[in-house]
């Protein structure tokens, strides 16, 4: 048990955890009284036995493993892209079985409602808009709204086949959804590789736990994609479409193609003839049925979208309209990635599913509502302001960390373009030990689980735990210095 001393915990005999401070937020490992939460008991004991030297050695082994395998991501600076080794911290994140079941139900529910909305909006009568659940003007003014997607039939009405929903745990210990990623959510390959590295380097850590496996993602994804084949296409030809080797997520694209046993193609490998997509092989053209694209809408088809795109496939939109190919995720999902639509997801769940949301949103103020805007701007120094069309933490202003000038600038921008901003209550993300400065210190983290929807919906057990590697920081994005952790969903809870 850890003692409360001063402003933190001092666990007797914990070594690396001696000066661990669990008081900043909800701590995943320690209870408020300093005792270790039951799921983490053995993990904490194991780490107690490790010294700094051993932990350093293990950390080096993981880094070397990632370096050897080329498990990297690219950070784009002003000049050029820099390939970096994927950062992983060794102290794993555990999610108890019962807790995960609840979370998974909530995620399925959320994605089901979002799929209903996308089908209603692009292929249906727009009932949710007609009934005022979401303002029509807000949706059609979204940068993610894709006019060309209207009327394109999507098998099973599954517009969002691969969703990454960012969830966080606040001070009260409850999970909340922070952000929906329904276009091209990335990170799953790192989830699987984190597990593989942990299994190699810290095998002994797994001895005391029944952890749900990570390698089942690829078969799950393949099943999902197969179910999205156009009518009558048995044994569909599936490809993963990548922008190429210079894309920041290229490692992931190659990983997914290899794990599923399908081809990784670039736009130049595909050609459309008579509204049918073919891949160029040395033996001629081979029909393609399902494209798991990792290219944004704007770049998919230079004929219909950005004419300067060299990444896409000319004529792809025509093939989609003809129903001769499926593109996953569907075109136009950006409309629900728009943070301006996010505050309405709870209402969409109630509207389409007739149920209360299992996972709530973070309390959000809509800046296009004058009353909410006035309240939020008045308290902006306590809140978080986010531009609705950005991702990866770009443009986010964290009120308590901002200067007066930054706050004033943000207020001006919000007043000028209220449609483009939301403001949220600051969530003190939960914390977990991470190895820094030769000891285990508390660091904030979030979780991105992945939800697959085709004929059925499956939630992959676990997800990408991103961790802020700087003390006190709430920024978990890897491009901004964040790290990651292996995420263990326990197969069953201890009695």
């Amino acid at each position: 048990m850890a003692d409360v001393s001063g402003d933190g915990f001092s666990g007797p005999g914990t070594g690396l955890l001696d000066e661990y401070d669990a008081s900043r937020a909800y701590d995943e490992v320690f209870e408020p009284d300093g005792s270790v939460r039951s799921a983490y008991t053995r993990i904490v004991e194991r780490f107690r036995d490790l010294g700094v030297t051993e932990l350093r050695r293990l950390e080096k082994l993981v880094a070397e493993e990632f370096r050897r395998q080329g498990i990297t991501f690219t950070v784009y600076s002003e000049e050029e892209g820099t390939e970096r080794i994927w950062p992983m911290d060794l102290f794993p994140r555990l999610i108890a079985a019962a807790e995960w079941d609840e979370l998974a139900r909530g995620l399925s529910q959320r994605v089901a409602a979002l799929n209903c909305f996308l089908a209603d909006f692009y292929n249906g009568d727009g009932e949710a808009l007609a009934d005022g659940v979401v303002p029509r003007w807000l949706v059609v003014s979204s940068q993610g709204f894709e006019r060309n997607a209207v009327g394109i039939r999507v098998p099973h009405n599954a517009h969002c086949n691969i969703a990454g929903i960012d969830v966080v745990r606040g001070a009260d210990g409850r999970y909340r959804v922070l952000e929906d990623n329904l276009r091209n959510p990335s990170g799953i390959s790192y989830v699987v590789e984190n597990r593989a590295a942990m299994a190699k380097v810290c095998t002994w850590l797994f001895d005391d736990h029944a952890v749900q496996p990570a390698e089942q993602y690829a078969p799950m994804l393949r099943t999902t994609l197969e179910s999205m084949a156009p009518d009558g296409r048995d044994s569909p030809h599936i490809v993963v479409l990548t922008p190429g080797i210079f894309n920041s997520a290229y490692f992931e694209h190659a990983f997914l193609a290899r794990s599923m046993g399908v081809e990784l193609v670039e736009g130049r490998d595909l050609v459309v003839d008579d509204h049918t997509v073919y891949s160029r092989t040395i033996e001629g053209l081979v029909r393609v049925d399902v494209i798991y694209r990792r290219i944004d809408d704007d770049f998919l088809d230079p004929v219909s979208f950005r004419p300067d795109s060299a990444l896409g496939v000319p004529g792809l939109l025509g093939a989609l309209r003809a129903g001769n190919v499926s593109v996953c995720n569907a075109l136009g999902n950006g409309v629900v990635d728009d943070k301006a639509v996010y505050p309405y997801v709870g209402d969409l769940i109630r509207y389409y599913l007739g149920a209360e949301p299992i996972i709530d949103n973070v309390t959000t103020y809509m800046m296009w509502d004058p009353e909410q805007r006035a309240e939020a701007l008045n308290r902006l120094d306590e809140l978080v302001a986010k531009p609705v069309g950005e991702s990866g933490g770009t443009g986010v202003l964290i009120g308590p960390h901002a200067t007066e000038q930054e706050l004033a600038a943000a207020r001006s921008q919000i007043e000028a373009e209220p449609r483009e901003w939301i403001v949220q209550e600051l969530v003190q993300l939960s914390t977990l030990p991470a190895f820094a400065d030769d000891r285990l210190e508390s660091r904030h983290l979030d979780l991105r689980p992945f939800i697959l929807t085709g004929e059925t919906t499956e939630v992959f057990p676990g997800g990408l735990t991103r961790v802020a590697m700087r003390r006190g920081s709430l920024i978990v994005n890897s491009s901004k210095g964040g790290g990651s952790k292996d995420t263990w969903v326990l197969a069953h809870d201890s009695p």
């Binding site: 370096r67 050897r68 395998q69 080329g70 156009p230 009558g232 030809h237 993963v240 190429g244 080797i245 290229y250 694209h253 190659a254 990983f255 193609a257 290899r258 399908v262 081809e263 990784l264 193609v265 670039e266 130049r268 490998d269 050609v271 003839d273 008579d274 509204h275 049918t276 073919y278 891949s279 160029r280 092989t281 040395i282 033996e283 001629g284 053209l285 081979v286 029909r287 309209r321 003809a322 129903g323 001769n324």
Partner: protein, 326 residues
Amino acid sequence: MILARHAEALLWTGRYLERAETISRCLSYAADSITGLRADDARAEGELLVRTLGLTDELQAVGPLDSRPQLVAFLLSDRDNPGSMVSSIVAVRENLRSVRDRIPIELWEEANGLYLRFPFLGHENTPSDLHEVLLMVRRACLAISGVLNEGMRRDEGHAFVVVGRMLERSIFTVGLLEASHSDPRGSLDAGRMLRLTSSLQAYHRQHGSAPDFHGVVRYLLHADDLPRSVFSCLVRAQECLADLASGAEALDRPRRRTALLRSRLEFGDLSEAMVSAPVPALLDFGRELAEVANEVQEGIAPPQTMAAAPRSQYLRPGQISDGAKP
């Protein structure tokens, strides 16, 4: 069935891998042989090696090599020289990276591991332990070859790597023989040719005696049990191209030309020409090999547009019913 882009990347993987290994072997030998020579001789020696490796144009772009360090830098670490060893290693890695989804993980890791040892080598940074570096590269190339042979499916991708390697190797060997006949100083003697092709030990075991020039020339051209002889390379390339051409018609032309070149070796046509005018004969043979390599690449490249080629040449798997079209 392999994507055309993947086929091209694997063909070039084979070529660059062979090139990296060849340069490391040649440089290892040359670095020793020019030590202690007078400046003129050292320069001539270096230029002969550069010519043997087919890098004359690249050398002209940088000017004469006046010292051993310059020669080493040009062949080893000059990233502006697309034929340098480091450029070849980078190219192997980049090509394999673009087909990472279809190759064994170990193959990628070996190539990536080799690449990671060279990130900061530059002109001015010739390693002091040159022989260790070159030995490491040769071993890494052999490890990559091992994974290719033992860990990779014998599919079209594997066949393209083999074709690339065999054509590159035979082009080098023919170039070496041509350079040895052209060299007025006669420095590319029989023993040196055997060393530069890693064939000295095999030759001794088979022929016992001290190597004579014409015997070695015949050996490097015709030996059917020497993996580096031109004949062996053509046999393997022809076998792979025959498999590939059964599905890809466009590869039938380079297959037939490879068979023809093999026949010229096998049935004496080249041998006769070698007696009367060896240099033109070898130049002609080398040119034909290079043309075959180009034809393989052209055979891989699919038509850029549907309008550019008759529809009948495309394979249409399964039944594409008109009903499925709008």
